[in-house]
């Protein structure tokens, strides 16, 4: 079941577009933020609201790598390895995350807390190497900073902090 707040949000977003189907991607993003991934129910609901077949929503999801059809970790660590970050140690940051969390890119830790992804330029080149965790940016990373960040996120969760 989608929350009332989300449904209201959906109404509001759809009203913003002259053509309903144009709202598909924003709806997917808001839905994913609430549920954590894009469930079958969410696909059906969006398709119904913008009057398309579910397969058209699925097409869009597959097009965008930031939309997830399966549950992912509470925190999605998106490490940039594009050119600026590469030059400033992005690959090492990714390798460090991989070892530290014990998962490969596109993987999720068994406790469901972290997912790892290798991504292209985040537009944060001036702070390379950079990484995006959900909607937050972390820049000028070193392996130590990554360790501290992971620790902090664990504590946040233990304290019942929302995403």
């Amino acid at each position: 079941m989608l929350s009332e707040a989300l449904k209201a949000k959906f109404d509001q977003v759809i009203a913003r577009y002259p053509v309903k189907r144009s709202a598909i991607v924003p709806l997917l993003l808001f839905g994913q933020d609430e549920i954590g991934y894009i469930s079958d129910e969410l696909v059906e609901e969006i398709a119904r609201r913008v009057e398309v077949r579910p397969i058209e929503v699925i097409e869009d999801i597959s097009y965008y790598s930031m939309l997830h059809r399966q549950p992912i970790g509470k925190y999605n660590l998106q490490v940039c390895t594009n050119i600026s970050c590469l030059l400033r140690g992005g690959e090492e940051i990714l390798e460090h995350c991989r070892r530290r969390l014990g998962i490969d890119p596109k993987g999720t830790t068994p406790d469901g807390l972290f997912s790892l992804e290798e991504v292209e330029c985040l537009g944060a080149c001036c702070g390379a190497p950079a990484m995006q965790v959900n909607y937050e940016f972390y820049e000028n990373l070193t392996p130590e900073k990554v360790d501290r960040l992971i620790e902090e996120l664990r504590i946040r969760t233990a304290n019942g902090h929302p995403r």
């Binding site: 077949r53 579910p54 397969i55 058209e56 699925i58 097409e59 597959s62 097009y63």
Partner: protein
């Protein structure tokens, strides 16, 4: 931009020519040849008309434009770069070159893109030999590539038991998606991911749920979508091809059977001949496999000491003749009755009623009537409007269609397709009156009047007599009917299509009211199975001779007596329900059944036919009715004989017996059981005989000298003597559909429950579909009738 992102979901308008009939013309020069075409024509079509082929993948006539593959690049004078011929609209004085080295190079380069990940596995690919990509690579020599990267590969996927997808072969032309969206209105295919990794996906992500029509398979220019029944079975050049008529619903699609070694390997309509163009539904494309079934009856059976035992044709036929004659002599001709088929050919039906009337001496002959054609014929004859039968072709060209009852999406897939084409390509308006929210009502209708179950006839009655509409008849708003009437009054040439909801007097009402609509309104009754119309036309009716001549009319009897040289009984016979009742009460002693399963159709109780002294059944498969029979005659299927069938709209077509494909020595197939049709190189399940052959043999047993040696002979007599069937033979034999013009005043419908549809779905077709692996293999066949994809 072979697997280009840009090609995704852009909705491109339809070319103008398909929307309007252009009176103005444009003259241009293509490869030095002057070409004149209607204004608005696409360059690629103009070239085709001039006999110049421009290679194309994404372009497909009557689908929206995609401009994705760039194979159709041509050089146009005064334009700086090469242009895509599939999206360019011709203009006056245009000078086009399609064969310059620059063009050839561009095409070669585009091919290199198409082949980035393509495996070129032609030797094992189903499409090898009829592949548009293979042809182009052969022509432009682009098999080498400058890409160094390893080719990407995915394993093939089974979308459903009938549709498979082989990703590496896909050139992303989007034809499959567009035919499914635009042609089928099913929207079952999509495109996932992007760039070089784009792939076609089925609507349920891991599998496909759809109409399983296979249109996407046929339209795929390469071997990416393949057929579950054909894949890896044969090479296209090994098959011998014969265009014949689908035997399932009443719409009469042309289907081309590919036969090898006396076995059907596939069916499609790739040459787009016939009234259906490229269309075939799941039954026409895959549902022929019952012909190859091992459960076919192949040996005549005769009941001895209570058990059906294998016998010979000689014994079975002579026993049939002797018993029928003895019963006739002892109990009178009225103790014998005949039930005919909705699938056998006109020639067979004509002979069956001739046998009943002249050799058995009875008018006790009927069939399961699935539409009330008789009432339509009489109503139009009375109104002097027998030029107002609408054909399947008229339907796709219609500007306005009124559909009353029926669910064509399931019961008449071609009619539904034609209606959708009219709406989509010609902007036609569809008006629907139905008690259910059928898919056409939901998706295509301009006005939908929902009536209570069985309310269609009342509604038509109110319209005809301008009576107020009874309360509770219209369920979706009292104003709906007003809106319908108002809109129809503004339309012209409306085609009125109706199902079994209208019968008897209601059809009279419909015609009376319909003819008052503006323009040239026309009518079409929808009945099930390949030849239900032909069964009525050929007089498989107790009160009606061929061509809707009343048995009670002495002049009509005299007409046929002259042709047949034998008396025709005067009294109207028993209709099918009366026959079955009399069989149970013992009044009917002998029953002759051809290609029909009355025990099932009329839901007869157990043992209902046990009082019959004699039951003979000609059938393809063991059925509830053959189980009760004293003699069972194994019949040939539609794919093993020639003859004509008349589709539900009255179009006559020649069903052509396929060549056997490859030469198999006759000794391998056993003795050839025929005299009427030379079998040598044509398809036939060993041991079976066509109903025509059976009827001719039976007539010989009766000592009759019928002057026919083949279906053509019978057809010539039909053309010469049956009113409405005076058609020209050559176009018919060449595979064209010829409209008949039934006229006559047959007796009125005896009782309403004689006309009822079998309510087949897309995946059922009476008895035969029980023996089709393809139709039963798809999950959708298990969903309730009326399910909408």
């Amino acid at each position: 931009m072979a697997r280009g992102d840009e090609a995704g979901e852009i909705e491109t308008p339809m070319p103008e020519t398909t929307l309007a009939t252009a009176a103005e013309t444009v003259t241009l020069v293509i490869d030095g040849q002057s070409v004149t075409v209607p204004k608005g024509t696409l360059l690629i079509e103009a070239a085709r008309q001039a006999g110049i082929e421009i290679p194309s993948y994404c372009y497909y006539p009557n689908l929206s434009l995609q401009g994705a593959c760039r194979m159709c690049l041509v050089s146009i004078a005064k334009m700086p770069k090469l242009q895509t011929a599939c999206t360019t609209i011709v203009s006056e004085g245009m000078t086009v070159h399609t064969q310059t080295p620059e063009v050839a190079n561009a095409r070669k380069a585009m091919l290199e893109f198409e082949l980035t990940n393509h495996p070129l596995d032609c030797p094992v690919c189903d499409k090898g030999g009829e592949c548009e990509l293979q042809d182009a690579v052969f022509r432009y020599g682009a098999a080498e590539t400058r890409f160094m990267e390893a080719k990407l590969h995915h394993e093939e996927k089974r979308f459903s038991n009938l549709v498979y997808y082989d990703w590496p072969r896909c050139i992303l032309c989007y034809r499959c998606i567009r035919i499914c969206d635009e042609g089928m209105d099913v929207n079952a295919l999509g495109i996932a991911f992007r760039g070089a990794r784009s792939e076609i996906i089925p609507n349920r992500e891991d599998h496909l749920e759809c109409e399983e029509c296979g249109m996407c398979i046929d339209i795929c220019p390469v071997g990416a979508l393949t057929s579950g029944t054909y894949r890896y079975k044969a090479r296209p050049w090994e098959l011998s091809y014969t265009g014949t008529i689908c035997n399932h619903c009443g719409d009469g699609c042309k289907t081309t059977l590919g036969v090898r070694n006396n076995e059907i390997i596939r069916a499609n309509n790739r040459d787009h001949s016939g009234i259906n163009g490229e269309f075939l539904c799941v039954k026409g494309r895959f549902g022929w496999d019952f012909v190859n079934s091992r459960q076919r009856l192949t040996v005549p059976l005769v009941r001895r000491n209570g058990h059906q035992e294998q016998s010979t044709w000689q014994e079975a036929l002579s026993l049939t003749h002797k018993t029928l004659r003895a019963i006739g002599e002892k109990y009178g001709a009225d103790s014998i009755a005949v039930i005919g088929s909705n699938r056998t050919t006109n020639e067979e039906n004509y002979l069956l009623q001739r046998l009943a009337r002249t050799l058995l001496g009875t008018n006790n002959i009927d069939h399961h009537r699935t539409a009330d054609y008789s009432s339509l014929v009489s109503a139009l004859t009375e109104a002097r409007a027998t030029d107002r039968y609408a054909t399947m072709d008229d339907l796709s060209a219609a500007a306005s269609v009124l559909l009353i009852g029926n669910d064509p999406t399931h019961q008449h897939p071609l009619a539904a397709y034609q209606i959708r084409q009219a709406v989509r390509l010609r902007g036609a308006r569809l008006y629907v009156v139905n008690s259910a929210e059928i898919k056409l009502a939901v998706r295509q209708a301009s006005v939908f009047v929902k009536v209570r179950a069985g309310g269609e006839a009342d509604l038509v009655g109110s319209l005809a007599d301008q009576r107020p509409v009874p309360p509770g008849l219209v369920l979706n708003g009292a104003d709906k009917l007003g809106a319908l009437a108002e809109r129809l009054a503004k339309e012209s040439d409306t085609i009125i299509v109706f199902g079994d909801e209208l019968r008897g007097a209601a059809i009279g009402d419909l015609v009376r009211w319909g003819l008052t609509l503006p323009g040239r309104p026309r009518f079409m009754a929808l009945g099930d199975y390949a030849n239900s119309r032909g069964a009525a036309d050929m007089g498989l009716l107790p009160g009606t001779l061929p061509g809707y001549r009343a048995v009670a009319d002495p002049e009509a009897r005299a007409r046929y007596e002259a042709v047949w040289g034998a008396p025709v009984p005067a009294g109207e016979g028993r209709h099918i329900r009366a026959i079955l009742d009399a069989a149970q009460s013992g009044e009917i002693k002998a029953l002759v059944v051809f290609g029909s399963n009355p025990v099932k159709t009329f839901q007869l109780p157990e043992g209902a036919l046990s009082r019959l002294a004699f039951l003979v059944v000609s059938e393809l498969f063991p059925t509830e009715t053959t189980a009760c029979a004293d003699v069972v005659l194994p019949a040939a299927s539609f794919a093993e004989k020639s003859g004509t069938v008349t589709n539900t709209s009255g179009q006559l077509q020649w069903m052509r017996r396929p060549a056997r494909g490859f030469d198999v020595p006759d000794s391998a197939l056993g003795p050839v059981p025929t005299r009427a049709e030379p079998i040598l190189n044509t398809m036939r399940r060993t041991g079976t005989r066509s109903d025509l052959e059976i009827l001719l043999a039976l007539a010989r047993e009766f000592g009759a000298r019928w002057p026919y040696r083949s279906a053509e002979d019978v057809l010539r007599e039909i053309i010469a003597s049956v009113p409405g069937y005076a058609v020209a033979l050559p176009p018919l034999l060449m595979g064209r559909a010829v409209a008949t013009q039934a006229e006559g005043t047959p007796p009125p419908l005896e009782r309403p429950d004689l006309v009822f549809t079998s309510r087949d779905s897309l995946f059922t077709s009476g008895t035969v579909s029980r023996f089709s692996w393809a139709l039963n293999s798809v999950e959708e066949s298990k969903q309730p009738h009326g399910h909408i994809f």
